[in-house]
Amino acid sequence: MPRPADAGPGGTVSKSSKNSNKRSRGAAGGGIRRAVSATTLLWIMACLYGLPVLWFILSSLKPSSDLFSYPLTLVPRNPTLSGFKTAWESANFSQYFINTAIVCVITTIVTVGVSCCTGYALAKYDNRWLKAFFLCILATTMLPSEVMLAPEFLVVRNLGLYNSFAGIILPAVLTATGCFMFRQFFLTVPDELVEAARIDGARELSIFLRIMVPLSRPIMLTLAILSFQWRWNDYIWPLLMLNDPNKFTVQIGIQSIVGAQNINWSVLLGASVISMIPLILVFLVFQRYVMGADINAGLKD
C-alpha cells in the first residue's frame, strides 16, 4: 500500500532545521519514536478488540464445570468440545443451522440476481421513469424496516407467507445497497461496449446476460458476501415471521437460550461460537472483496 504509507502524517521536520542533513537525522530519530508509539497504540487497541472474542471462544472450549471456577484462566485447563456437542444436539440447533443456511443461500442468490438486473437498467438506459424508480429505491434507505414492523408483518401475513421461509426471503430481496453497487459499477463500463454489441445485432437482454453479467462478477461476489452476512445475522424479522420451532433460525435459537430462566452458559457459548463459524469462513476466504468493497452511502440491509 504505497499511498496510505505516504499519506501518514509522518513529517517530523523541526521548524528551526532547514539544513537537509539535520532534517534527515531528525526524521530518522522521530521515525523510530513514532514507529514505536504508533505500533504500541495500534496493538493496544487491537488487543482491546480481539480479547473479547478470544476470551469468548476459549471459554466455549471449557467443560461446563470449569466455566465459573476461580481463578479464571484464559486458556482452558482441560479443553473439550462437549459444549459444542451439547449445543448442536440440544434444542434442535442443527435444524436451526440448516434453516438459516437455506434462507441465507436462497436470499443471497435472488438478491444478487435482482440487484444486478436493476442496477444495469438504472445505469445503461435513460428513461424518466427509470430515474423516478431510482429515487424510489433510494427512499427505502430512509425508512428502515424496523420502522414498518407491524404493517410489513400484516402485508406478509395477508400474502399468505406467514410462518414460511418465503416470508423471510422475499422482503429481504429489495436492497438499495445492492442496486446502488451494481449501478455504480455499470456506470464505469463504457457505453461503447453496449453500442458495439447492438451494431452486431445482439438483442438487449442477451447483451446483458452474455456481456454484462460476466463482467460484474466481482460486484456479485461482494454483494453476495454482504447479503449472506445480513441474513445470517438477522434476528427481528425471522422472529416475527416464524412460530414453528422447526423453522427457527440460529439467531432465534441463541436468543431463546438467553431468554431461559437459568442461562445454560455451556450450551449458549457453544451455540454462539458455532453460529460464528460460517461467516468467519466466508470472510477469511473472500477477505479482499469485503475489505476492498466500495461501500458507500445508503448502505442498509
Partner: protein, 303 residues
C-alpha cells in the same frame, strides 16, 4: 458519466422510445417487491396509525388519538429519551474509535497493520445477538471477566447488569466495538484519497502530525464523516437485538428502546394502531436526522 453515448449516438426521443421493454423487464422484479414490501406497508402503517386496529377483526378510525396518547405515555417517553441518550453516547464513541483505528491502520510507522485491520473488522461479522451474548459473558456481575479483573486489582464488583445506567453503558461499548470495523473501512478509503502532496507541503511548513491531522485529514474526510455519523445515528435509533441479548432492556424495563417498545406494543399487546403511531414518530426522527445532516453537509461542502 454515461453522457458520452447519448451525445454521439441516437437522438434522445428515439432512444427513449426504442428501449422500453428491456429496462422494464430488468427492473420488473424490484418494482413488484418495492410495491409489495415498501409502498403497501408504508401506506398501511400510516392508515393504521389513525386507527385502533389490533391485528385482527374490524377497526375504527380514532383520528389523532394514538399520537395524542403517545405524548402522555410515560413508557413511550422513557423509551424515546433512552434511545436518544443511547444515540448521543454511541455515535461519538464509535466515530472516535473507528477514526483512530483507521488512522493507525494506514499509518506507515505502525507494524502489523494488516493483521490489526482484520482484528478490528471481525466484531462486525458477529451477529448483534452474539455480540450481546459475548458482552453479557464479559460483564457478568458474579462471573464475568471484567469484574474478576477489577477484583484482582483490589476493586469491588461493579453492578453492570443491575444498574440501569451502567447496563446502558455496556451496550454502548458493545455496539461501538461491533460497528468499529465497518466505519473504519469507510474512513480508510477516505484517508487514502487525501492527496499526499498536502501532507508534504504541511510538513515543509513545519506542521506536526497532530496539526496535520486537524488541518488536513479531518477537513478532507468531512463527507465520509457525515456518512458515518448519519449511518450510525440511524443504526442507533433502531437498535434492538444487542439490547435483547445483552440485558433484555433491563434491569426491568429501564433500557427498553424505541424498537423494543414498538415490538412489545404491536406484537405482544396487539395494539397495532398504537404501535404504528410510535413507528411514525421514529420515522419522523430519522428523517429529521437525515435532513439536518444533509443541510450541515451542504453548508460544509460549500464553504
Amino acid at each position: 458519466m454515461t453522457k458520452r453515448a447519448s451525445d454521439v449516438s441516437v437522438s434522445p426521443p428515439r432512444r427513449r422510445s426504442k428501449y422500453i421493454l428491456a429496462p422494464l423487464v430488468l427492473i420488473a422484479a424490484n418494482v413488484v417487491l418495492f410495491s409489495l414490501f415498501f409502498v403497501w406497508p408504508a401506506v398501511l402503517g400510516l392508515i393504521y396509525s389513525f386507527t385502533n386496529y389490533t391485528g385482527v377483526g374490524a377497526f375504527q378510525f380514532v383520528g389523532l388519538d394514538n399520537y395524542h396518547n403517545l405524548v402522555g405515555d410515560s413508557t413511550f417517553y422513557d423509551a424515546l429519551t433512552r434511545t436518544l441518550l443511547y444515540a448521543v453516547l454511541f455515535v461519538p464513541l464509535n466515530f472516535g474509535l473507528s477514526l483512530l483505528a483507521a488512522n493507525l491502520v494506514v499509518n506507515k510507522h505502525a507494524k502489523g497493520a494488516s493483521v490489526a485491520r482484520v482484528i478490528f473488522f471481525i466484531p462486525w461479522l458477529l451477529s448483534p445477538i452474539v455480540v450481546g451474548v459475548l458482552w453479557r459473558w464479559l460483564f457478568g456481575e458474579n462471573f464475568g471477566l471484567v469484574n474478576y479483573v477489577i477484583e484482582q486489582f483490589g476493586g469491588s464488583a461493579v453492578p453492570w447488569q443491575s444498574n440501569a445506567d451502567l447496563s446502558l453503558i455496556v451496550v454502548v461499548m458493545a455496539a461501538s466495538w461491533a460497528w468499529t470495523g465497518f466505519s473504519m473501512l469507510l474512513f480508510i478509503a477516505a484517508i487514502k484519497n487525501v492527496p499526499v502532496s498536502y501532507y508534504e507541503a504541511a510538513a515543509l511548513d513545519g506542521a506536526g502530525p497532530w496539526r496535520q491531522f486537524i488541518s488536513i485529514t479531518l477537513p478532507s474526510i468531512a463527507p465520509t464523516s457525515f456518512i458515518v455519523i448519519l449511518l450510525n445515528t440511524i443504526n442507533a435509533m433502531k437498535e434492538y437485538p444487542v439490547f435483547v441479548a445483552l440485558n433484555n432492556g433491563g434491569p426491568g424495563t429501564s433500557n427498553n428502546l424505541l424498537v423494543q417498545y414498538i415490538y412489545e406494543t404491536g406484537f405482544k399487546r396487539g395494539q397495532i394502531g398504537y404501535a404504528s403511531a410510535a413507528s411514525f414518530v421514529l420515522m419522523l426522527i430519522l428523517m429529521a436526522v437525515a435532513i439536518i445532516q444533509l443541510i450541515v453537509n451542504r453548508r460544509v461542502e460549500n464553504r
